[in-house]
Amino acid sequence: MKRTSLSEYLIERFIRVTGVSVILFLALIFLFLLREGGATFFEVPLRDLLRTRWYPNEGHFGLLPLVMGSLLVTVGAAVISLPLGLLTAVFVAEVAPRWVREILKPFIEVLAGIPSVVLGFLGMLVVSPLIREHLGAPTGLTALSGSLMLGYMALPTIISVAEDALDAVPKSYRDAALALGATRWQTIWRVTVPAARSGILTAMMLGVGRAIGETMAVMMVTGNAARLPLTLNSFLMPVRTMTATIAAEMGEVAQGSTHYHILFAIGLVLFLVTFVVDLVASWTLFRQGRRYGRLLS
Protein backbone atom coordinates (compact mmCIF):
# COMPACT_ATOMS: atom_id res chain seq x y z
CA MET A 1 0.00 0.00 0.00
CA LYS A 2 2.77 2.37 0.97
CA ARG A 3 4.74 1.36 -2.09
CA THR A 4 1.87 2.22 -4.40
CA SER A 5 1.39 5.64 -2.91
CA LEU A 6 5.12 6.34 -3.13
CA SER A 7 5.31 5.40 -6.81
CA GLU A 8 2.12 7.33 -7.41
CA TYR A 9 3.64 10.31 -5.68
CA LEU A 10 6.76 10.04 -7.84
CA ILE A 11 4.78 9.69 -11.05
CA GLU A 12 2.61 12.64 -10.14
CA ARG A 13 5.70 14.71 -9.43
CA PHE A 14 7.30 13.64 -12.70
CA ILE A 15 4.24 14.63 -14.71
CA ARG A 16 4.09 17.96 -12.93
CA VAL A 17 7.79 18.60 -13.67
CA THR A 18 7.35 17.83 -17.38
CA GLY A 19 4.34 20.12 -17.47
CA VAL A 20 6.11 22.98 -15.77
CA SER A 21 9.29 22.46 -17.81
CA VAL A 22 7.43 23.41 -20.99
CA ILE A 23 6.85 26.86 -19.55
CA LEU A 24 10.38 26.93 -18.19
CA PHE A 25 11.92 26.12 -21.59
CA LEU A 26 9.76 28.72 -23.29
CA ALA A 27 10.91 31.29 -20.75
CA LEU A 28 14.55 30.25 -21.19
CA ILE A 29 14.35 30.52 -24.98
CA PHE A 30 12.81 33.94 -24.62
CA LEU A 31 15.53 35.02 -22.18
CA PHE A 32 18.24 33.66 -24.48
CA LEU A 33 16.86 35.59 -27.45
CA LEU A 34 16.53 38.68 -25.29
CA ARG A 35 20.12 38.35 -24.04
CA GLU A 36 21.61 37.91 -27.52
CA GLY A 37 19.24 40.20 -29.38
CA GLY A 38 18.42 42.84 -26.78
CA ALA A 39 21.68 44.70 -27.39
CA THR A 40 20.32 45.66 -30.83
CA PHE A 41 17.97 48.19 -29.32
CA PHE A 42 20.90 49.98 -27.67
CA GLU A 43 23.21 49.76 -30.68
CA VAL A 44 20.77 50.70 -33.43
CA PRO A 45 18.20 53.47 -32.97
CA LEU A 46 14.63 52.33 -33.49
CA ARG A 47 14.31 54.83 -36.35
CA ASP A 48 17.00 52.95 -38.28
CA LEU A 49 15.33 49.59 -37.65
CA LEU A 50 12.16 50.94 -39.25
CA ARG A 51 13.88 51.96 -42.48
CA THR A 52 13.32 50.12 -45.72
CA ARG A 53 16.84 49.05 -46.66
CA TRP A 54 18.38 45.80 -45.43
CA TYR A 55 22.08 45.55 -46.24
CA PRO A 56 23.82 44.62 -42.98
CA ASN A 57 27.34 44.56 -44.51
CA GLU A 58 27.21 48.33 -44.73
CA GLY A 59 25.12 49.06 -41.64
CA HIS A 60 21.70 49.29 -43.28
CA PHE A 61 19.51 47.52 -40.72
CA GLY A 62 15.97 48.35 -41.88
CA LEU A 63 13.79 45.43 -40.82
CA LEU A 64 10.60 46.50 -42.60
CA PRO A 65 11.23 44.57 -45.86
CA LEU A 66 11.93 41.38 -43.89
CA VAL A 67 8.89 41.68 -41.60
CA MET A 68 6.63 42.55 -44.53
CA GLY A 69 8.15 39.73 -46.56
CA SER A 70 7.40 37.14 -43.90
CA LEU A 71 3.93 38.57 -43.43
CA LEU A 72 3.15 38.47 -47.15
CA VAL A 73 4.34 34.90 -47.62
CA THR A 74 2.54 33.70 -44.49
CA VAL A 75 -0.74 35.42 -45.30
CA GLY A 76 -0.53 33.95 -48.80
CA ALA A 77 0.10 30.50 -47.38
CA ALA A 78 -2.82 30.89 -44.94
CA VAL A 79 -5.21 32.01 -47.68
CA ILE A 80 -4.25 28.96 -49.72
CA SER A 81 -4.09 26.33 -46.99
CA LEU A 82 -6.80 27.26 -44.44
CA PRO A 83 -9.89 26.82 -46.62
CA LEU A 84 -8.38 23.88 -48.47
CA GLY A 85 -7.33 22.20 -45.23
CA LEU A 86 -10.68 22.70 -43.52
CA LEU A 87 -12.65 21.46 -46.51
CA THR A 88 -10.43 18.40 -46.86
CA ALA A 89 -10.81 17.65 -43.16
CA VAL A 90 -14.60 17.93 -43.43
CA PHE A 91 -14.58 15.67 -46.47
CA VAL A 92 -12.39 13.06 -44.81
CA ALA A 93 -14.22 13.12 -41.47
CA GLU A 94 -17.84 13.63 -42.52
CA VAL A 95 -18.45 12.93 -46.18
CA ALA A 96 -16.05 10.32 -47.49
CA PRO A 97 -17.11 6.68 -47.32
CA ARG A 98 -15.14 4.58 -44.89
CA TRP A 99 -12.82 2.95 -47.44
CA VAL A 100 -11.85 6.29 -49.04
CA ARG A 101 -11.08 7.61 -45.60
CA GLU A 102 -8.88 4.61 -44.80
CA ILE A 103 -6.83 5.35 -47.91
CA LEU A 104 -6.70 9.16 -47.57
CA LYS A 105 -5.65 9.41 -43.94
CA PRO A 106 -2.28 7.63 -44.17
CA PHE A 107 -1.44 9.48 -47.39
CA ILE A 108 -2.09 12.85 -45.76
CA GLU A 109 0.13 11.86 -42.87
CA VAL A 110 2.92 10.83 -45.24
CA LEU A 111 2.72 14.29 -46.84
CA ALA A 112 3.67 15.80 -43.50
CA GLY A 113 6.91 13.86 -43.55
CA ILE A 114 8.34 15.23 -46.82
CA PRO A 115 11.52 17.16 -45.92
CA SER A 116 11.21 20.86 -46.66
CA VAL A 117 14.41 20.95 -48.70
CA VAL A 118 12.87 18.45 -51.11
CA LEU A 119 9.82 20.69 -51.45
CA GLY A 120 12.21 23.58 -52.00
CA PHE A 121 13.78 21.80 -54.95
CA LEU A 122 10.37 21.00 -56.32
CA GLY A 123 9.41 24.66 -55.99
CA MET A 124 12.61 25.89 -57.60
CA LEU A 125 12.59 23.55 -60.58
CA VAL A 126 8.87 22.95 -61.20
CA VAL A 127 6.64 25.59 -59.58
CA SER A 128 8.71 28.70 -60.24
CA PRO A 129 9.12 28.17 -64.03
CA LEU A 130 5.33 27.67 -64.23
CA ILE A 131 4.71 30.95 -62.38
CA ARG A 132 7.11 32.83 -64.65
CA GLU A 133 5.66 31.44 -67.86
CA HIS A 134 1.96 31.57 -67.03
CA LEU A 135 1.57 34.55 -64.70
CA GLY A 136 3.93 36.92 -66.50
CA ALA A 137 6.31 37.47 -63.58
CA PRO A 138 9.87 38.45 -64.57
CA THR A 139 11.19 35.63 -62.39
CA GLY A 140 9.48 32.58 -60.89
CA LEU A 141 11.23 33.05 -57.53
CA THR A 142 8.39 35.02 -55.96
CA ALA A 143 6.39 35.44 -52.78
CA LEU A 144 3.62 33.44 -54.44
CA SER A 145 5.96 30.46 -54.99
CA GLY A 146 6.85 30.66 -51.30
CA SER A 147 3.18 30.85 -50.29
CA LEU A 148 2.33 27.86 -52.46
CA MET A 149 5.11 25.73 -50.97
CA LEU A 150 4.27 26.82 -47.42
CA GLY A 151 0.56 26.29 -47.97
CA TYR A 152 1.33 22.81 -49.19
CA MET A 153 3.50 22.14 -46.16
CA ALA A 154 0.89 23.41 -43.72
CA LEU A 155 -1.92 21.33 -45.26
CA PRO A 156 -1.18 17.93 -43.70
CA THR A 157 -0.97 19.46 -40.22
CA ILE A 158 -4.22 21.37 -40.65
CA ILE A 159 -6.07 18.40 -42.13
CA SER A 160 -4.89 15.85 -39.54
CA VAL A 161 -5.61 17.99 -36.49
CA ALA A 162 -8.91 19.37 -37.79
CA GLU A 163 -10.03 15.91 -38.81
CA ASP A 164 -9.29 14.57 -35.34
CA ALA A 165 -11.31 17.42 -33.84
CA LEU A 166 -14.29 16.71 -36.09
CA ASP A 167 -13.98 13.04 -35.27
CA ALA A 168 -14.21 13.82 -31.55
CA VAL A 169 -17.63 15.51 -31.89
CA PRO A 170 -20.13 13.09 -30.24
CA LYS A 171 -22.35 11.21 -32.64
CA SER A 172 -25.37 12.31 -30.62
CA TYR A 173 -24.94 15.89 -31.92
CA ARG A 174 -25.26 14.75 -35.51
CA ASP A 175 -28.15 12.42 -34.67
CA ALA A 176 -29.96 15.24 -32.91
CA ALA A 177 -29.47 17.61 -35.82
CA LEU A 178 -30.64 15.05 -38.36
CA ALA A 179 -33.62 14.18 -36.14
CA LEU A 180 -34.62 17.85 -36.16
CA GLY A 181 -34.82 17.68 -39.93
CA ALA A 182 -31.51 19.31 -40.79
CA THR A 183 -29.89 18.23 -44.04
CA ARG A 184 -26.44 16.67 -43.98
CA TRP A 185 -24.98 19.97 -45.22
CA GLN A 186 -26.71 21.91 -42.43
CA THR A 187 -25.56 19.35 -39.88
CA ILE A 188 -21.93 19.73 -40.95
CA TRP A 189 -21.80 23.53 -41.10
CA ARG A 190 -24.20 24.42 -38.27
CA VAL A 191 -23.46 21.66 -35.76
CA THR A 192 -20.37 19.53 -36.30
CA VAL A 193 -17.89 22.22 -37.40
CA PRO A 194 -18.93 24.74 -34.70
CA ALA A 195 -18.74 22.00 -32.07
CA ALA A 196 -15.18 21.19 -33.16
CA ARG A 197 -14.16 24.84 -33.50
CA SER A 198 -11.54 24.75 -30.77
CA GLY A 199 -9.71 21.85 -32.39
CA ILE A 200 -10.08 23.43 -35.83
CA LEU A 201 -8.62 26.70 -34.59
CA THR A 202 -5.72 24.79 -33.06
CA ALA A 203 -5.18 23.12 -36.42
CA MET A 204 -5.09 26.48 -38.15
CA MET A 205 -2.70 27.92 -35.58
CA LEU A 206 -0.34 24.97 -35.95
CA GLY A 207 -0.49 25.30 -39.72
CA VAL A 208 0.16 29.04 -39.72
CA GLY A 209 2.87 28.54 -37.11
CA ARG A 210 4.62 26.10 -39.39
CA ALA A 211 4.33 28.59 -42.25
CA ILE A 212 5.86 31.51 -40.31
CA GLY A 213 8.78 29.46 -39.05
CA GLU A 214 9.62 27.50 -42.17
CA THR A 215 13.00 28.39 -43.60
CA MET A 216 14.61 26.10 -46.12
CA ALA A 217 11.90 25.85 -48.77
CA VAL A 218 11.24 29.60 -48.50
CA MET A 219 14.90 30.44 -48.91
CA MET A 220 15.04 28.36 -52.08
CA VAL A 221 11.94 29.69 -53.83
CA THR A 222 11.33 33.31 -52.78
CA GLY A 223 14.44 34.85 -54.33
CA ASN A 224 15.52 36.57 -51.08
CA ALA A 225 15.46 40.11 -52.45
CA ALA A 226 15.00 42.51 -49.54
CA ARG A 227 12.50 44.78 -51.29
CA LEU A 228 9.52 46.31 -49.55
CA PRO A 229 6.37 44.53 -50.77
CA LEU A 230 3.67 47.20 -50.74
CA THR A 231 1.63 46.77 -53.90
CA LEU A 232 -0.66 43.90 -54.79
CA ASN A 233 1.68 42.61 -57.53
CA SER A 234 4.26 42.01 -54.80
CA PHE A 235 3.06 38.42 -54.82
CA LEU A 236 4.68 38.12 -58.23
CA MET A 237 7.93 39.71 -57.05
CA PRO A 238 10.71 38.23 -54.94
CA VAL A 239 10.73 38.81 -51.16
CA ARG A 240 13.10 38.09 -48.30
CA THR A 241 11.64 36.56 -45.15
CA MET A 242 12.92 36.88 -41.59
CA THR A 243 13.69 33.16 -41.32
CA ALA A 244 15.64 33.05 -44.59
CA THR A 245 17.63 36.09 -43.48
CA ILE A 246 18.65 34.44 -40.22
CA ALA A 247 19.56 31.20 -41.98
CA ALA A 248 21.52 32.86 -44.77
CA GLU A 249 23.46 35.30 -42.64
CA MET A 250 24.00 33.60 -39.28
CA GLY A 251 26.90 31.48 -40.56
CA GLU A 252 29.10 34.42 -41.42
CA VAL A 253 28.58 37.07 -38.74
CA ALA A 254 31.25 37.81 -36.17
CA GLN A 255 29.97 36.89 -32.71
CA GLY A 256 28.99 39.93 -30.68
CA SER A 257 28.74 42.30 -33.64
CA THR A 258 25.68 44.48 -34.25
CA HIS A 259 24.72 42.27 -37.19
CA TYR A 260 24.86 39.22 -34.89
CA HIS A 261 22.64 40.90 -32.30
CA ILE A 262 20.17 42.01 -34.89
CA LEU A 263 19.75 38.49 -36.27
CA PHE A 264 18.77 37.39 -32.76
CA ALA A 265 16.45 40.38 -32.54
CA ILE A 266 14.76 39.11 -35.71
CA GLY A 267 14.40 35.76 -33.94
CA LEU A 268 12.81 37.63 -31.05
CA VAL A 269 10.34 39.31 -33.40
CA LEU A 270 9.42 35.92 -34.90
CA PHE A 271 8.96 34.48 -31.41
CA LEU A 272 6.73 37.35 -30.33
CA VAL A 273 4.62 37.21 -33.51
CA THR A 274 3.96 33.48 -33.01
CA PHE A 275 3.26 34.07 -29.34
CA VAL A 276 0.76 36.88 -29.99
CA VAL A 277 -1.01 34.89 -32.71
CA ASP A 278 -1.42 31.97 -30.32
CA LEU A 279 -2.51 34.26 -27.50
CA VAL A 280 -5.17 35.96 -29.60
CA ALA A 281 -6.45 32.59 -30.77
CA SER A 282 -6.78 31.15 -27.28
CA TRP A 283 -8.38 34.35 -26.03
CA THR A 284 -11.03 34.30 -28.76
CA LEU A 285 -11.69 30.67 -28.00
CA PHE A 286 -12.00 31.36 -24.31
CA ARG A 287 -14.52 34.15 -24.83
CA GLN A 288 -16.52 32.15 -27.33
CA GLY A 289 -16.45 29.14 -25.04
CA ARG A 290 -18.01 31.15 -22.23
CA ARG A 291 -20.73 32.52 -24.49
CA TYR A 292 -21.62 29.11 -25.85
CA GLY A 293 -21.51 27.72 -22.33
CA ARG A 294 -24.09 30.25 -21.26
CA LEU A 295 -26.31 29.51 -24.25
CA LEU A 296 -26.29 25.80 -23.54
CA SER A 297 -27.02 26.05 -19.85
Partner: protein, 291 residues
Protein backbone atom coordinates in the same frame (compact mmCIF):
# COMPACT_ATOMS: atom_id res chain seq x y z
CA UNK B 1 27.13 -12.71 -20.88
CA UNK B 2 25.58 -12.89 -24.32
CA UNK B 3 26.58 -9.33 -25.04
CA UNK B 4 30.28 -9.95 -24.64
CA UNK B 5 31.15 -10.49 -28.36
CA UNK B 6 29.64 -7.13 -29.20
CA UNK B 7 31.59 -5.50 -26.41
CA UNK B 8 34.78 -7.21 -27.61
CA UNK B 9 34.26 -5.88 -31.13
CA UNK B 10 33.62 -2.43 -29.74
CA UNK B 11 36.79 -2.59 -27.66
CA UNK B 12 38.84 -3.78 -30.63
CA UNK B 13 37.45 -0.93 -32.71
CA UNK B 14 38.21 1.57 -29.99
CA UNK B 15 41.76 0.27 -29.62
CA UNK B 16 42.18 0.29 -33.38
CA UNK B 17 41.01 3.88 -33.55
CA UNK B 18 43.10 5.32 -30.81
CA UNK B 19 46.66 5.12 -32.16
CA UNK B 20 45.62 6.77 -35.44
CA UNK B 21 43.97 9.66 -33.64
CA UNK B 22 46.85 9.91 -31.23
CA UNK B 23 49.32 10.19 -34.09
CA UNK B 24 47.28 12.84 -35.82
CA UNK B 25 47.09 14.86 -32.66
CA UNK B 26 50.76 14.44 -31.81
CA UNK B 27 52.23 15.53 -35.13
CA UNK B 28 49.42 17.99 -35.89
CA UNK B 29 48.65 16.66 -39.37
CA UNK B 30 44.87 16.97 -39.19
CA UNK B 31 44.33 20.23 -41.07
CA UNK B 32 41.05 22.13 -40.83
CA UNK B 33 40.54 24.00 -44.10
CA UNK B 34 37.39 26.16 -44.11
CA UNK B 35 36.07 29.11 -46.11
CA UNK B 36 35.09 30.48 -49.49
CA UNK B 37 32.53 28.51 -51.49
CA UNK B 38 34.30 29.74 -54.61
CA UNK B 39 37.42 27.85 -53.60
CA UNK B 40 35.80 24.83 -51.97
CA UNK B 41 35.97 22.53 -55.01
CA UNK B 42 39.56 23.56 -55.66
CA UNK B 43 40.49 23.02 -52.01
CA UNK B 44 38.84 19.59 -52.09
CA UNK B 45 40.74 18.58 -55.23
CA UNK B 46 44.02 19.72 -53.67
CA UNK B 47 43.24 17.92 -50.41
CA UNK B 48 42.36 14.65 -52.18
CA UNK B 49 45.49 14.65 -54.34
CA UNK B 50 47.73 15.62 -51.44
CA UNK B 51 46.25 13.00 -49.10
CA UNK B 52 46.85 10.34 -51.75
CA UNK B 53 50.52 11.36 -51.81
CA UNK B 54 50.86 11.81 -48.05
CA UNK B 55 48.58 9.26 -46.30
CA UNK B 56 49.67 10.56 -42.89
CA UNK B 57 48.02 13.94 -43.55
CA UNK B 58 44.29 14.47 -43.04
CA UNK B 59 42.75 17.59 -44.55
CA UNK B 60 39.11 18.40 -43.75
CA UNK B 61 37.69 20.87 -46.28
CA UNK B 62 34.48 22.81 -45.59
CA UNK B 63 32.82 25.70 -47.44
CA UNK B 64 30.48 28.29 -45.95
CA UNK B 65 31.89 31.51 -47.38
CA UNK B 66 35.07 33.53 -46.92
CA UNK B 67 33.65 35.22 -43.82
CA UNK B 68 33.01 31.84 -42.20
CA UNK B 69 36.57 30.64 -42.78
CA UNK B 70 38.12 33.87 -41.56
CA UNK B 71 35.88 33.93 -38.49
CA UNK B 72 37.09 30.38 -37.76
CA UNK B 73 40.72 31.47 -38.13
CA UNK B 74 40.09 34.35 -35.75
CA UNK B 75 38.47 32.00 -33.21
CA UNK B 76 41.33 29.52 -33.59
CA UNK B 77 39.15 26.64 -34.85
CA UNK B 78 40.53 26.68 -38.41
CA UNK B 79 44.11 26.03 -39.58
CA UNK B 80 43.77 27.37 -43.10
CA UNK B 81 41.03 29.85 -44.04
CA UNK B 82 40.11 30.08 -47.73
CA UNK B 83 39.24 33.58 -48.88
CA UNK B 84 38.03 34.82 -52.22
CA UNK B 85 38.67 38.31 -50.82
CA UNK B 86 41.35 39.86 -48.65
CA UNK B 87 40.75 40.03 -44.92
CA UNK B 88 39.04 43.24 -43.84
CA UNK B 89 40.96 45.49 -41.41
CA UNK B 90 38.44 44.79 -38.64
CA UNK B 91 38.91 41.04 -39.14
CA UNK B 92 42.69 41.48 -38.84
CA UNK B 93 42.12 43.51 -35.67
CA UNK B 94 39.86 40.81 -34.24
CA UNK B 95 42.55 38.20 -34.97
CA UNK B 96 45.24 40.35 -33.32
CA UNK B 97 42.97 40.69 -30.28
CA UNK B 98 43.05 36.87 -30.06
CA UNK B 99 46.87 36.86 -30.41
CA UNK B 100 46.71 35.54 -33.96
CA UNK B 101 48.68 37.14 -36.78
CA UNK B 102 47.01 36.15 -40.03
CA UNK B 103 49.40 35.50 -42.93
CA UNK B 104 48.15 35.80 -46.49
CA UNK B 105 49.04 33.39 -49.32
CA UNK B 106 47.89 33.91 -52.91
CA UNK B 107 47.01 30.45 -54.19
CA UNK B 108 45.25 30.99 -57.52
CA UNK B 109 43.49 33.61 -59.60
CA UNK B 110 39.85 33.79 -60.49
CA UNK B 111 37.75 35.71 -62.91
CA UNK B 112 34.11 36.56 -62.31
CA UNK B 113 32.08 35.75 -65.38
CA UNK B 114 28.84 37.58 -66.13
CA UNK B 115 26.28 35.13 -67.44
CA UNK B 116 22.90 35.41 -69.16
CA UNK B 117 20.38 33.03 -70.71
CA UNK B 118 21.67 31.51 -74.00
CA UNK B 119 18.78 33.07 -75.93
CA UNK B 120 19.67 36.60 -74.75
CA UNK B 121 21.00 38.63 -77.73
CA UNK B 122 23.23 40.79 -75.49
CA UNK B 123 26.85 39.72 -76.07
CA UNK B 124 28.83 42.46 -74.40
CA UNK B 125 28.57 45.02 -71.59
CA UNK B 126 30.82 47.69 -70.13
CA UNK B 127 31.60 47.84 -66.42
CA UNK B 128 29.56 51.06 -66.27
CA UNK B 129 26.54 49.28 -67.77
CA UNK B 130 26.96 46.39 -65.32
CA UNK B 131 27.11 48.86 -62.45
CA UNK B 132 23.95 50.60 -63.67
CA UNK B 133 22.18 47.27 -64.11
CA UNK B 134 23.05 45.95 -60.66
CA UNK B 135 22.34 49.21 -58.86
CA UNK B 136 18.90 49.39 -60.48
CA UNK B 137 19.45 52.38 -62.81
CA UNK B 138 18.97 50.18 -65.88
CA UNK B 139 15.99 47.86 -65.50
CA UNK B 140 15.23 46.74 -69.04
CA UNK B 141 17.32 44.70 -71.46
CA UNK B 142 16.37 47.05 -74.32
CA UNK B 143 18.51 49.79 -72.69
CA UNK B 144 21.65 47.74 -73.31
CA UNK B 145 20.77 46.47 -76.78
CA UNK B 146 18.61 43.52 -75.84
CA UNK B 147 14.96 42.56 -76.13
CA UNK B 148 12.13 44.38 -74.45
CA UNK B 149 12.28 42.44 -71.16
CA UNK B 150 12.78 43.48 -67.58
CA UNK B 151 16.10 42.48 -66.07
CA UNK B 152 16.15 40.00 -63.19
CA UNK B 153 19.28 40.53 -61.09
CA UNK B 154 20.89 37.48 -59.54
CA UNK B 155 23.61 37.64 -56.95
CA UNK B 156 25.24 35.48 -54.31
CA UNK B 157 24.30 36.06 -50.64
CA UNK B 158 26.05 38.98 -48.97
CA UNK B 159 28.33 36.65 -46.95
CA UNK B 160 29.94 35.41 -50.16
CA UNK B 161 33.37 36.77 -51.08
CA UNK B 162 32.23 36.88 -54.70
CA UNK B 163 29.37 39.20 -53.67
CA UNK B 164 31.69 41.61 -51.84
CA UNK B 165 34.20 41.61 -54.69
CA UNK B 166 31.50 42.26 -57.29
CA UNK B 167 30.08 45.11 -55.17
CA UNK B 168 33.46 46.81 -54.85
CA UNK B 169 34.84 46.15 -58.30
CA UNK B 170 31.75 46.34 -60.50
CA UNK B 171 28.81 48.00 -58.75
CA UNK B 172 31.08 50.70 -57.27
CA UNK B 173 33.54 50.55 -60.17
CA UNK B 174 36.48 50.17 -57.79
CA UNK B 175 35.70 53.38 -55.90
CA UNK B 176 36.67 52.56 -52.31
CA UNK B 177 34.49 55.35 -50.88
CA UNK B 178 31.50 54.57 -53.07
CA UNK B 179 28.18 54.05 -51.36
CA UNK B 180 26.25 52.58 -54.28
CA UNK B 181 24.49 49.39 -53.25
CA UNK B 182 22.95 46.47 -55.04
CA UNK B 183 19.39 47.28 -56.07
CA UNK B 184 16.90 46.05 -53.42
CA UNK B 185 15.35 43.98 -56.21
CA UNK B 186 18.49 41.85 -56.45
CA UNK B 187 17.75 38.18 -55.79
CA UNK B 188 20.27 36.83 -53.30
CA UNK B 189 20.79 33.16 -54.01
CA UNK B 190 22.14 30.86 -51.29
CA UNK B 191 24.38 28.95 -53.73
CA UNK B 192 26.15 29.07 -57.08
CA UNK B 193 23.77 26.35 -58.21
CA UNK B 194 20.83 28.63 -57.42
CA UNK B 195 22.21 31.26 -59.79
CA UNK B 196 23.00 28.88 -62.63
CA UNK B 197 19.61 27.15 -62.29
CA UNK B 198 17.82 30.48 -62.68
CA UNK B 199 20.05 31.80 -65.49
CA UNK B 200 19.63 28.55 -67.41
CA UNK B 201 15.83 28.74 -67.43
CA UNK B 202 15.00 32.46 -67.19
CA UNK B 203 15.59 34.61 -70.30
CA UNK B 204 15.31 37.77 -68.14
CA UNK B 205 18.12 36.83 -65.80
CA UNK B 206 21.65 38.12 -65.42
CA UNK B 207 24.03 36.57 -62.93
CA UNK B 208 27.69 36.47 -62.01
CA UNK B 209 29.85 33.74 -60.59
CA UNK B 210 33.38 32.40 -60.50
CA UNK B 211 34.68 31.31 -63.92
CA UNK B 212 35.01 27.78 -62.54
CA UNK B 213 31.26 27.56 -61.99
CA UNK B 214 30.06 28.61 -65.44
CA UNK B 215 28.53 25.68 -67.30
CA UNK B 216 28.21 25.56 -71.11
CA UNK B 217 24.43 26.00 -70.93
CA UNK B 218 24.85 29.63 -69.80
CA UNK B 219 26.09 32.43 -72.03
CA UNK B 220 29.14 34.37 -70.87
CA UNK B 221 29.15 38.09 -71.66
CA UNK B 222 32.26 39.93 -72.89
CA UNK B 223 33.14 42.83 -70.59
CA UNK B 224 34.97 46.10 -71.33
CA UNK B 225 36.55 48.31 -68.68
CA UNK B 226 35.83 51.49 -70.68
CA UNK B 227 33.02 52.27 -73.11
CA UNK B 228 35.49 52.50 -76.00
CA UNK B 229 37.75 49.72 -74.81
CA UNK B 230 38.01 46.18 -76.07
CA UNK B 231 35.34 43.73 -74.95
CA UNK B 232 37.05 40.70 -73.43
CA UNK B 233 35.72 37.23 -72.62
CA UNK B 234 37.16 35.65 -69.48
CA UNK B 235 39.76 32.93 -70.05
CA UNK B 236 43.06 31.81 -68.52
CA UNK B 237 45.00 33.96 -71.00
CA UNK B 238 42.93 37.12 -70.64
CA UNK B 239 42.99 36.91 -66.84
CA UNK B 240 46.74 36.38 -66.52
CA UNK B 241 47.43 39.10 -69.07
CA UNK B 242 45.19 41.45 -67.11
CA UNK B 243 42.95 42.15 -70.10
CA UNK B 244 39.77 40.84 -68.45
CA UNK B 245 38.60 43.51 -66.01
CA UNK B 246 36.81 41.44 -63.33
CA UNK B 247 39.55 39.17 -62.02
CA UNK B 248 41.03 38.71 -58.59
CA UNK B 249 43.49 36.73 -56.52
CA UNK B 250 42.31 33.89 -54.27
CA UNK B 251 43.84 33.53 -50.83
CA UNK B 252 44.56 31.11 -48.06
CA UNK B 253 45.18 32.54 -44.60
CA UNK B 254 47.14 30.85 -41.83
CA UNK B 255 47.55 31.85 -38.19
CA UNK B 256 51.15 33.03 -38.17
CA UNK B 257 53.82 31.83 -40.62
CA UNK B 258 52.87 28.24 -41.53
CA UNK B 259 54.88 25.51 -39.87
CA UNK B 260 55.52 21.84 -40.64
CA UNK B 261 52.82 20.04 -42.57
CA UNK B 262 50.80 23.18 -43.31
CA UNK B 263 53.88 24.86 -44.79
CA UNK B 264 54.56 21.76 -46.93
CA UNK B 265 50.95 21.74 -48.08
CA UNK B 266 50.92 25.41 -49.07
CA UNK B 267 54.26 25.03 -50.88
CA UNK B 268 52.86 22.09 -52.82
CA UNK B 269 49.70 24.05 -53.70
CA UNK B 270 51.81 26.81 -55.22
CA UNK B 271 54.07 24.37 -57.06
CA UNK B 272 53.38 23.56 -60.70
CA UNK B 273 51.85 20.27 -59.55
CA UNK B 274 49.25 22.07 -57.45
CA UNK B 275 48.62 24.75 -60.06
CA UNK B 276 47.77 22.12 -62.71
CA UNK B 277 44.68 21.31 -60.64
CA UNK B 278 43.77 25.02 -60.61
CA UNK B 279 43.60 25.00 -64.40
CA UNK B 280 41.62 21.76 -64.47
CA UNK B 281 38.88 23.27 -62.31
CA UNK B 282 38.40 26.35 -64.49
CA UNK B 283 40.34 28.77 -62.31
CA UNK B 284 43.42 30.62 -63.44
CA UNK B 285 46.83 29.27 -62.37
CA UNK B 286 49.40 31.69 -60.90
CA UNK B 287 51.73 32.70 -63.69
CA UNK B 288 54.70 33.30 -61.45
CA UNK B 289 55.01 31.64 -58.06
CA UNK B 290 57.01 33.64 -55.56
CA UNK B 291 57.32 31.24 -52.64
Amino acid sequence: MRKSPAICILLVLLVACRPAEGEAGATGVAIQNVGSDTIVNLALAWAETYQAMRPDVRIAVTGGGSGTGIAGLVNGTVDIANGSRQMKPEEVDAARANNITPVEHVIARDAIAVVVHPSNPVNRLTLQQLSDIYSGRITDWSEVGGENRSIVLLSRESNSGTHVYFLEQVVRLGDKHGTTLFSPDTLLMPSSEGISAEVRQNPNGIGYDGLGYVTPDQKTVAVAADPGGPYVLPSIETVNSGAYPIARDLYMYTAGEPQGTIADYLAWIRSSEGQVIVGELGFVPLSSVDW
